[in-house]
């Protein structure tokens, strides 16, 4: 049975009577318990994809089309009420900015318990015990004390752990995390990412991790989806994509990242900018920046081509050749 299968997801807005589609033809699938890293630069549409999957049309602000199959249901055809019950209990979301996603006027403990309360019919006491258990697993020191505190009394790392605890407490099957550690210092990021991964693996939770940080993805995910200007351009197992990237964008992106011990002057850059929504070039959206472009790139939109089991790329270079 499929766990999560997204096919031809598309979001359409109307701006000044002009139709624009910030994300188009987004298709991918996840197996149960898998970690899928979704990477892209600003404006690639990765956060929007997450919101669209969750059916958060108020956050998306446009029409969502396509199919999001989760288990045996198509999420996009559900009513808002059905979706709400799924959102809390089976799919959880960790938003981009943990610093502002906690409500400043409620104690953090109450915010964790709230989710449990809503979706699992358990007593207040049981809910608190469950919350404390999760907090301890997330290595929150003095969990009992933190439970009674307000968000502003906590450090950035602690707040982030609380947000993760809220996401995990209802034991969802799928967790969507949007840049969960971007706002944190490197040493804290290393701690939290490790804990986060351990918890999801232990509980068999599928994790869709959205980030711009290729390093985090390399260390954490099983598969990777590379997004560029609203399209997925490459999809595949983490080792394949990092060791033998196919799409020129993936290749270039990997060469943009400086590493310790890298020789000076060997850093590569990508010419130009990510096109802004509504100003996409014709044909392949990466084509104006691509060093390998040839005749069809400027006119025909490349389709996802299957290269191997689980490995797909949207580039004319691989069209037709079936190896």
């Amino acid at each position: 049975m499929t766990f999560l299968k997204v096919s031809d997801l598309e979001v359409e807005f109307c701006v000044d009577k002009k139709k624009i589609t910030p994300i188009e033809q987004v298709s991918f699938e996840m197996k149960k318990g898998e970690v899928l890293g979704m990477v892209g630069e600003t404006g690639s549409g990765k956060s929007l994809t997450a919101h669209a999957i969750m059916g958060l049309s108020s956050l998306v602000g446009g029409k969502i089309r396509g199919r999001v199959q989760f288990g045996d249901k198509d999420l996009l055809s559900l009513s808002e009420r059905e979706m709400q019950s799924i959102r809390g209990s089976q799919i959880a979301f960790i938003p981009q900015n943990p610093m502002t996603s906690l409500d400043p006027v409620y104690r953090v403990g109450d915010q964790i318990v709230e989710g449990l309360y809503k979706h699992r019919k358990i007593s207040k006491r049981a809910a608190k015990l469950k919350a404390l258990e999760i907090m301890e697993k997330l290595q929150i020191p003095k969990a009992n004390h933190v439970f009674q505190q307000y968000p502003h009394q906590l450090s950035g790392g602690l707040k982030q752990r609380i947000v993760i605890a809220i996401g995990l407490c209802t034991s969802p099957q799928l967790l969507i995390a949007d840049e969960p550690t971007t706002a944190l210092d490197v040493t804290v990021q290393a701690q939290i990412m490790r804990l986060f991964l351990k918890m999801t693996k232990d509980k068999g939770i599928g994790l869709l991790l959205i980030t711009h940080d290729l390093g985090v993805i390399a260390q954490v995910s099983d598969k990777i989806a590379v997004m560029y200007a609203g399209n997925i351009v490459e999809f595949g197992p983490i080792k394949t994509v990092f060791n033998t990237p196919h799409h020129p964008y993936t290749k270039a992106l990997l060469n943009c990242i400086p590493t310790i011990g890298m020789k000076k002057g060997t850093l590569d850059a990508i010419y130009g900018n990510v096109p802004t929504v509504g100003n996409y070039p014709p044909g392949c959206r990466y084509q104006p920046r691509c060093p390998d472009r040839f005749a069809p790139c400027g006119t025909i939109v490349p389709k996802m081509t299957k290269l191997a089991e689980d490995t797909r790329v949207a580039c004319h270079k691989y069209n037709g050749s079936k190896d």
Partner: protein
């Protein structure tokens, strides 16, 4: 490596005009103000009769074809006096607000920029002026420097500056730690350059809005002082003074009080509508559509 694409770029005034064209109330306000300015400038040519010549024989005549707004108790043409009054109101409004904005911006900017004791002293003075009713200050000042249009202008100017000072102080407090201010400082700019070329221009927007609405207030205050007999001296027609004279004949010739009142209402409405529209217009940084 070179990024050659420049995003479509429009000069700020184009953006402002485009936004204004979409704002109906703002357009109405603009039209009213433009009318007032036109009337104020061309008053001597627009007046059908002299504003001061008295004709006892046509005293308190109701509106007719020869006198659209009727005549007052001295037989003067009300229309001509309303037109000439527009000039007085406009001049008083603009000059007095000019004075308050000038004082307010300097005091507020210095208080916000230097902080500490300077700030405390200036803010206290501003708060004290702010706490006194404007009309009381104006009355006091008129009593000291004497009646007449000039003293009315100075009086109104001195009673309204505190609100502009507070506005600009708040703006400067929040702007003074902005990165571009630090950047200018690191180029070796003096305090004056930072204050006058960056901080004040960037914080003047709300002051302009308040000043526009303030012109309306100043016109009303002038009328009030005129009504109390302290503004322009006869036979100079100020709307307030005209209305004051008209009260005696309210039931015999209501047009004497009605038309200056209407003119004032439209003027104040015009400045208020335009001021409201400005709040939106001056925010050039936010693109007109996203």
């Amino acid at each position: 490596m070179i990024e050659n694409n420049v995003r479509e770029h429009k000069p700020p005034w184009v953006v402002v005009l485009k936004k204004l064209s979409k704002n109906k109330l703002g357009l109405m306000g603009t039209a009213l103000i433009l009318c007032l300015i036109f009337i104020a400038i061309t008053a001597p040519f627009l007046e059908p009769y002299s504003y001061k010549e008295q004709h006892i024989e046509i005293m308190n005549e109701p509106p007719s074809l020869s006198h659209f707004m009727g005549t007052d108790d001295f037989g003067r043409d009300v229309l001509s006096r309303v037109i000439r009054g527009a000039r007085i109101s406009f001049v008083v409004g603009v000059l007095s607000v000019g004075i308050s904005v000038f004082i307010g911006v300097i005091v507020g900017a210095i208080a916000g920029f230097y902080g500490g004791v300077v700030d405390l002293a200036l803010t206290t003075i501003a708060d004290l002026t702010w706490a006194m009713p404007a009309i009381l200050i104006a009355l006091l000042l008129v009593a000291i420097i004497g009646t007449g249009l000039e003293s009315v202008v100075v009086a109104i100017g001195l009673s309204y500056w505190a609100q502009y000072a507070r506005l600009i102080r708040g703006q400067i407090l929040s702007l003074k730690s902005a990165v571009f201010i630090e950047a200018t400082k690191s180029l070796g700019a003096s305090d004056m350059v930072i204050l006058f070329k960056h901080l004040i221009p960037n914080s003047i927007g709300p002051v302009i809005v308040a000043a526009t609405i303030g012109i309306g207030n100043a016109i009303v205050l002038e009328a009030t002082l005129g009504f109390l007999g302290m503004g322009a001296q006869p036979p100079t027609p100020s709307w307030g003074a005209m209305m004051s004279n008209g009260t005696a004949y309210l039931f015999i010739s209501p047009w004497v009080i009605l038309f200056p009142g209407l003119a004032m209402m439209l003027t104040v409405l015009g400045f208020n509508l335009f001021g409201d529209a400005l709040i939106d217009l001056l925010d050039v940084k936010n693109k007109e559509s996203n």
